[in-house]
């Protein structure tokens, strides 16, 4: 019997990176998972990995910025599993550029994915969580949602706004036994890092590691275990919290 046995979760942006890692850890804990993302092929890969650990899983193609896609995801979840206990708003985008080079389009793109997406997810999950007698929402922010970061003006703004959304959601959700928490990973290695940082990790990985007190870049399962704890009844008294998984970076 796992910590999440009997529960049903939606994990957005689960076709790669942290979302994929979280879906796998949640499935290991007994959770049924609806994994979503824009890429069918990568989605099929996550489904295969979740099944490999014995998970019950479906993939639904979704762009989190499109409201109609949320309607589709909720319908697919109800059709497959008949209930919803947990939403992990993980899908996100990052742009790292000096302020003068950032365009308004860059900012608005990040706000759409990192803020509109979680907002729509919370709004559409809400009635289903209420119907389940409560549940949990976790929004994947970043340590840069708590502190500034050079070349991260747009990203910090989006992730910081998302943190405020989580806090407000926690206060409003309390009356319905819906817990809302914000997750703040530090530097976690994923296949998406080179897209943001550049194609040659050997040129920047030593610098990244050196910026973490523990001297290591984290792995996606490190975030996944935190998510499992938060989604479980063990965290029944934790809401409105910022959950850091960052090798000590936010302690500095």
């Amino acid at each position: 019997m796992g910590k999440l046995t009997g529960k049903v979760a939606i994990v957005t942006g689960a076709t790669s990176g942290i979302g994929k890692g979280c879906a796998i850890e949640m499935a290991k804990a007994g959770c049924k998972v609806v994994v979503t993302g824009r890429h069918e092929e990568r989605g099929a890969n996550t489904v295969r990995l979740v099944k490999e650990v014995g998970g019950d899983v479906i993939f639904v193609r979704q762009d989190v910025t499109v409201e109609a896609d949320w309607v589709k995801v909720m319908a697919a979840t109800m059709a497959a599993y008949g209930r919803l206990d947990c939403l992990l708003n993980n899908a996100g985008e990052a742009i790292v550029k000096p302020l003068e080079q950032l365009t308004l389009d860059n900012l608005q793109f990040l706000l759409r994915v990192d803020l509109d997406g979680p907002f729509l997810g919370m709004k559409h999950a809400w009635p289903h969580l209420k119907k389940s007698g409560g549940g949990t929402i976790m929004n994947m922010s970043s340590i840069t949602g708590q502190k500034g970061g050079a070349k991260g003006s747009a990203y910090c703004a989006a992730k910081g706004a998302q943190l405020a959304l989580s806090r407000a959601g926690a206060l409003e959700g309390a009356a319905h036994n819906i817990r809302v928490n914000s997750i703040h990973p530090g530097l976690i290695w994923t296949e998406g890092v080179p897209d943001v940082m550049g194609p040659n990790p050997e040129t920047y990985l030593p610098r990244l590691k050196a910026s973490v007190p523990m001297g290591e870049v984290g792995e996606t399962w490190h975030v996944g275990t935190a998510v499992v704890f938060l989604a479980s009844d063990e965290a029944a008294y934790i809401t409105g919290a910022e959950i850091n998984v960052d090798g000590g970076k936010s302690a500095q």
Partner: protein, 246 residues
Amino acid sequence: MTRFGGKVALVSNGASAIGVAVVRRLATEGASVMVADADLKGAEAAARAAGPHCKAIALDVASIESWEKVLSATVDAFQRLDVLVTVATATYDKPTPIADTSLAQFKKVTTHNLEGAFLALRYGVVKMRELGHGGAVVNVASAFATVGLAGHAAYNACGNGIRMMTKAAALSCAESKDKIRINAVQVGMIAGAPEQAMMAGRASHVPLARGGGVDDIAAAVAYLASEEASYVTGYILPVDGGLLAA
């Protein structure tokens, strides 16, 4: 599921309500636990209730000699030390406005809570380093480490002191690559904790509109102390029903 199978834990103020719950939780998940408390009878009862792999010992948290003796006794008894949990329980006898607080009253609380946590970290880290297998320290601090409470200046100060000392110690340990992680939990309106009395009549301030239980704290301590949190250090986890988000 035995996250703490083969592991050894030491819990200070282990006879307090939170201490007892932490001892029980760690023991249930496989740990051998040394229950340390000034109240030896209470520690013995907690150890007995938690099972055959638990022992009790008297601890004066404000005494260097006492910490050295308790840490050595733990390793003598169980050959390891993987987890150290400190619980700070001292408060004024009753809420006391700042202008009415004597230095003696203030010091009684800070000696027990803040100096106690310092000595635990100071000597606990040294013992873990001697043993060389890393470890995890979890300090149980208060939500009143972050927000103020009239009549409890010393408790506020200790909470914030423990919170920041947790970060400083975590960074020191990370820097020295000793594989010791140091984190803290912040206690909200938890039945049996000092916060329960401090928040009497203020349940409406808690977003979840209810108090929590000591098992909520124990579960959070267990998460931070386990391998599941192996990339988490210098972090303060509130278990407060949303109090600090409001």
